[in-house]
């Protein structure tokens, strides 16, 4: 599903965010990416969505070599991936419903379909009764769930979640991780970026460890060892 072949990313003048990363993620896999702040985790996600271009190496997503993807094709790629951003990127001037609907509007889905699907997804993340609120009127956990709903609503084959439990208490964190696991059970490939040691140890799935841009360990049923 995802191939990174000898990926490097250098931010000029001299910040090396990623160095010679080789990674293969199979369909329906659940992979946690861990590592210290500044290790290059978000950069890796950005390369997968063509937000950043790799300085070296090849990137294949869903069988599509996106190493030299053109501006025109970028939207096509992004519509096949769901992303929960570290800073959420919810639109402040739109309600929760509109924010989630927006991901479908961008893909040209009909209004009747949107009105049908969006409440379903909001129900799954437990925000059905808050769908007319604006992001400022939500708690941190609710914002993160709204961001997940938006990342899922177009049924992507791949879900990339960058710190989706960033500032949450353990109960909220558990809810969100359970949600991700459930999504994964339904057949979506999930890439989870996290700092949270307990999370990684609890889910008992594959763990990839980055250290200053280098991939230093990659284990099935790994543990967060730091």
């Amino acid at each position: 599903m995802i191939y990174l072949k000898k990926i490097s990313k250098i931010f000029y003048p001299k910040s090396i965010a990623l160095k010679d990363i080789n990674l293969h993620i199979k369909p329906k896999e659940f992979v946690s990416i861990v590592g210290q702040s500044g290790a290059g985790k978000s950069t890796m996600i950005k390369i997968l969505t063509a937000e950043e271009k790799a300085s070296n190496g090849n990137v294949v997503v869903g069988g599509w070599d996106i190493t030299d993807i053109s501006q025109k094709e970028v939207p096509v790629l992004r519509r096949q991936i769901g992303v929960v951003y570290q800073d959420f990127k919810l639109l402040q001037k739109k309600t929760v419903f509109e924010n989630v609907a927006f991901a479908l509007e961008v893909c040209g889905i009909s209004n009747s379909r949107i009105n049908q699907v969006v409440p379903q997804v909001l129900k799954i993340v437990g925000l059905k009764d808050k769908m007319d609120r604006y992001p400022q009127q939500l708690s941190g956990g609710e914002i993160q769930r709204a961001a997940i709903a938006r990342a899922l609503v177009h049924r992507p084959k791949i879900l990339l979640a960058d710190e989706p439990t960033g500032n949450l208490d353990s109960l909220n964190t558990k809810d969100i991780i359970d949600l991700l696991l459930k999504i994964n059970e339904f057949g979506t490939t999930v890439v989870l970026v996290t700092h949270n040691k307990d999370v990684v140890n609890r889910i008992k799935k594959r763990v990839v460890l980055l250290e200053s841009g280098k991939l230093v360990s990659d284990e099935e049923e790994g543990k967060y060892i730091l």
Binding site: K89, L90, V106, C107, N111
Partner: protein
């Protein structure tokens, strides 16, 4: 495509109303810029009209000797009318001249009495010549100075007007270049202000534009609502400008006509040239809005 078109429309209007304060400020700036351009147009029209009014009062009076016959005078008149520079020649007979003289001095019995005592009309016929353009009077004067007119013409009063005429031509060319220069500076300032206002308005959408792009929106899908909003702004601002300019012109008009004593009418001018004036302003506003929106959004769609 149909649903994406209606979505563009929806987003454009949603943005307009949800950012009402910003929309209001942008619109105000547009209206102020357009209004100032119209003020400039009004000023220019009034200036032209006043120059025209003064010019109309400038002429050369050619007084003929009393013994010259009407036929001779009319022959000169015909020659003058044949000149390229001459706009109009009015003939005043000696009887008419005497009549005018008497009415002008009707309060002065001494003068009237001395005229009566003379027993015959001391005044000759005269011609009032107006030129097409004020600086052509010198040419007309040169023509009238030819020797064969010497024994026909008693006097010409152009000299009295020479200074006024040269001042007017001077003033006119100065006003013209002044107005053009002011207009140019003004249009540039207006363009920069509008450009900046739109750039600011779109800057507040920076995050939103980038988020749209990350969700897989095409550049067109991101751009279109802003371009449409630019067109809506342009149309609204021109409408508001029309609503402001007409009453203003209506208020100014009586002063202009009483001051200049002409039948030049600002309101009629604006009505007759409605589509030229406001059509061009609309076109200009749409163009500048589209260009600034496109440029401002382009900076953020490259995510």
């Amino acid at each position: 495509m149909l649903s994406s078109g209606s979505r563009v429309l929806k987003f454009a209007f949603q943005d307009f109303f949800r950012n009402f304060w910003l929309s209001f400020v942008t619109l105000t700036i547009l209206v102020l810029a357009l209004f100032s351009i119209n003020l400039l147009i009004i000023f220019n029209l009034v200036a032209q009209a006043s120059i025209g009014a003064i010019e109309d009062k400038v002429n050369v009076s050619v007084y003929f000797k009393p013994e010259i016959t009407q036929d001779q005078v009319l022959a000169v008149s015909k020659n003058l009318q044949g000149l390229n520079e001459v706009k109009d020649v009015t003939y005043i007979s000696s009887e008419q001249a005497l009549e005018n003289f008497k009415t002008r001095h009707q309060d002065n019995p001494e003068i009237l009495q001395s005229i009566d005592e003379l027993g015959k009309n001391p005044l000759g016929a005269s011609l009032i010549v107006t030129a097409k353009v004020t600086d052509q009077y010198t040419k007309i004067m040169q023509y009238l100075a030819e020797p064969h007119y010497d024994n026909l013409i008693e006097s010409k009063n152009f000299d009295d007007h020479r200074l006024v005429i040269s001042r007017i031509s001077n003033l006119m060319s100065k006003v013209n270049t002044g107005v053009v220069a002011v207009a140019l500076v003004f249009v540039i300032i207006a363009l920069l202000i509008i450009f900046n206002a739109i750039r600011m308005a779109i800057y507040t959408h920076k995050e939103e534009i980038m988020a749209m792009k990350l969700l897989g929106a095409t550049n067109w899908f991101v751009q279109a609502p802003f371009l449409l909003e630019g067109i809506i702004f342009a149309i609204l601002s021109v409408l508001l400008t029309i609503i402001i300019v007409y009453p203003l012109v209506g208020v100014i008009q009586p002063y202009v006509s009483s001051l200049l004593e002409t039948n030049f009418n600002l309101v009629t001018y604006f009505t007759n040239n409605f589509f030229t004036i406001f059509g061009l302003e609309l076109l200009g506003a749409i163009l500048i809005n589209l260009i600034s929106s496109y440029w401002a959004v382009s900076k953020y769609v490259r995510v």
